[in-house]
């Protein structure tokens, strides 16, 4: 198989940026990118406009009605409470918008940390090889073999509870890191095989220089694809852990928690808006990341296009 040359070709292509061109011709990827940028805008807007404390605290005992249907459905003026209010009389619309901030923030932290750790481990494993490589990568392999959600549940059960949402974040970082380590190690090995790295070593380049100057840039493309795809998964898994009661703390306007409270407090009695809107935001955001990630993978992998003549 001629995998090496082809992949190197792909990387070369990326430098000349036909990658971006490919990506932009992929309509689905563009839709995904638009969704993500839109969510990011919403997130920043919500972060700047709303006060987290106010969104989290109960409005009972004030004049706001709890579980009020969306304004355009009910007796209230259509502009009021666009998505209705929840069981603590909080405005679901504002909470959903703020939820975007939380989802992107914790998603970024989760994926960012696992990427950093994974990249570090992958490169170290590839560069030093031998025992280091084996111990790191084999541990990663075992972690990879566990069913993700079940592994996260088991980990969450061990961590001290006072970590709150961080408990879920740490568990997911452990779940995701191996994926990055594996991808990066593979890519790094290919770069190392190139003679020019050998040449630099011969010229007396120090370890960090080789890592930073030569290996890292060449692994960027697969890392980006992997991060994008895992970003969607991370957001959904964080929500699932919150839904099962192992994630976000009381009152936090996180989509997963709003969804679970909403189902509990009124879905089956017809108050669907409590859970519908947070779920919708969650699904759209995840779809955005999946669309983009898919598109990027197609654009990156030339084999996919060669296949159809």
């Amino acid at each position: 198989m001629s995998t090496d040359t082809e992949t190197r070709g792909a990387l070369g292509r990326l430098r000349a940026s036909p990658f971006l061109a490919d990506l932009l011709t992929n309509r689905l990827a563009v839709v995904g990118l638009t969704i993500i940028l839109g969510m990011a805008a919403i997130a920043v807007y919500a972060r700047v406009t709303y006060d987290l404390g106010a969104l989290a605290s109960s409005q009972l005992g004030t004049e706001v009605t709890d579980r009020a249907p969306p304004g355009w459905l009910g007796p209230a003026p259509a502009t009021q409470q666009l998505f209705g209010t929840d069981a603590a009389a909080r405005d679901i619309y504002k909470r959903c918008l703020y939820g975007a901030w939380l989802a992107l923030k914790f998603g970024t932290i989760t994926v960012g940390t696992s990427t950093t750790v994974g990249v570090g481990m992958g490169i170290i494993a590839a560069y030093y090889g031998d025992v280091t490589d084996n111990v790191i990568m084999r541990t990663m392999d075992v972690l990879l073999a566990f069913p993700p959600l079940l592994l996260a549940l088991a980990l969450v059960a061990i961590f001290p509870r006072d970590l709150g949402l961080w408990r879920a974040v740490v568990a997911l970082v452990l779940v995701y890191t191996p994926r990055f380590a594996r991808v990066v190690r593979g890519a790094a090995l290919k770069v190392l095989e190139d003679e020019y790295v050998d040449a630099t070593v011969a010229l007396g380049a120090t370890d960090p220089r080789i890592l930073v100057r030569h290996i890292l840039p060449n692994t960027l493309a697969p890392i980006t694809v992997q991060s994008t795809l895992n970003f969607g998964l991370a957001i959904i898994d964080l929500a699932a852990l919150s839904f099962l009661g192992f994630g976000a703390q009381a009152g936090t306007p996180s989509w997963g928690l709003m969804l679970s409270r909403g189902v509990e407090n009124g879905l089956l009695t017809g108050q669907w808006w409590l859970s519908f809107f947070p779920g919708l935001f969650l699904a759209i955001t995840v779809l955005g990341f999946n669309l983009l990630g898919d598109g990027m993978r197609d654009a990156l992998d030339p084999r996919m296009r060669e296949a159809v003549d």
Binding site: L28, A145, F146, P147, P148, L149, L150, L153, A154, A157, I158, P160, R161, G232, I236, A239, A240, F243, L244, G245, G256, L259, S260, V263, L267, L268, G270, W272, S275, F276, G279, L280, L282, A283, V286, L287, N290, L291, D294, R303, M304, E306, A307, V308
Partner: protein, 360 residues
């Protein structure tokens, strides 16, 4: 070689028994490994089993008595060894609270078939729908069909089960009242514990749609199918989405391979080429990945059972963690691990059917 012939080759007994036996023997260290991890997790987890057992009404002395009785005061290596020994016999003692006083083994015996049934329907839907969809999508890459399938699949994995499930219940159960909201069978229908085949009494499987067929009870079967429809739909969609995505990219990769291009150059029709070379080769990574994805499917089953209130292994583990029923947590985690390993073992064997080179 035509299509039926290649199918026939699939079932040829080409796997040597030694290959299978070696793998079965390896289940022993797997079991001990998982048991050690489970032991570790439960000893690192917060919470005192004594208080779980005795409840809010117990006094300090009673708690101490229970700790003694449970052996929580023995040195840890002793606890560890006796735990391993128990795990080897699949004996986790009695449940603390979910099924207090009953053995964990019987709890698992009751609930495993329920999850298996759900997972099997999910996996079956994934294989029966996902594989053809993936192939079509790959063959007609960038066509409208491809786009629709891909968007469908992407949506399928993007929409959380814990959102779509409740919405389906709301629509079909609460508003339209066409499907029941929960349960596995009408509450007044009870099934016997055995069925008769040629005059011999045999135990039932615990999978209710199978059991009702074995018993020849049409009413019960319809009721069971009616109850199972929504959960199976949710997990089936999820699984179909997962597998069709995999099948598509795997198929694309195979299609582009040189020998296929060569075959095509020789003038054979495109479809025959695909069937002859593509399918079987594309299936190889898919089969392996189906095994690995089975874990994801189990995660999906946990959520599905939670949403639909189905009393299988998934809901059991969530509840058991919730009420700190440690023996049940141990038993279910170990069962999940064994199940996962067994499925991958089956995958491994299937795989060696498909690609005899690897049997060495």
């Amino acid at each position: 070689m035509n299509w039926t012939q290649s199918l026939f080759r699939l079932v040829e007994p080409v796997v040597p028994p030694r290959f299978v036996v070696k793998r079965l023997l390896l289940l022993v260290p797997v079991l001990f490994g998982v048991a050690s991890v489970v032991f570790a997790i439960l000893h690192l987890a917060p919470g005192d089993p004594a208080i779980v057992i005795a409840g809010q009404r117990a006094s300090t002395e009673q708690l101490e008595q229970i700790r003694q009785e449970l052996g929580l005061r023995r040195p840890l290596w002793e606890q560890y060894l006796s735990f391993l020994w128990d795990a080897a016999r699949f004996d986790f003692g009695q449940s603390y609270s979910i099924s207090r006083g009953n053995s964990v083994r019987s709890v698992i015996a009751d609930r495993l078939p329920i999850t298996l049934e759900l997972a099997i329907y999910g996996q079956a839907a994934g294989i029966l729908l996902g594989i053809p969809l993936g192939i079509i999508s790959a063959v007609k890459q960038d066509s409208l069909t491809d786009h629709v399938t891909r968007i469908g699949a992407l949506t399928g994995i993007s929409v959380p089960i814990f959102w779509s499930g409740p919405l389906l219940i709301l629509l079909f159960s609460t508003y339209l009242d066409v499907f029941p909201t929960s349960g596995r069978i009408d509450s007044t229908l009870f099934l016997p514990d055995t069925w008769t085949l040629f005059g011999r009494e045999l135990p039932l499987t615990g999978m209710i749609t199978v059991d009702t067929v074995l018993l020849g009870n049409t009413e019960a079967f319809l009721s069971a199918a009616h109850h199972l429809f929504l959960p199976a739909l949710v997990i089936g969609v999820y699984s179909t989405a997962l597998i069709s995505r995999m099948m598509r990219s795997s198929m694309l990769e195979v299609i582009r391979q040189d020998y296929i291009r060569t075959a095509r150059a020789k003038g054979q029709g495109a479809k025959i080429t695909l069937m002859k070379h593509g399918f079987r080769n594309a299936l190889i990574p898919v089969v392996t990945v189906i095994g690995i994805q089975f874990g994801t499917l189990l995660g999906g089953a946990v959520l599905t059972e939670t949403v639909f209130g189905i009393n299988g292994m998934g809901l059991t583990i969530v509840t058991a963690i919730g009420v700190s029923d440690y023996p049940v947590v141990q038993g279910t985690v170990l069962t999940f691990a064994l199940l996962f390993t067994l499925v991958n073992l089956v995958v491994d064997v299937t795989y060696s059917y498909l690609d005899p080179r690897i049997q060495q």
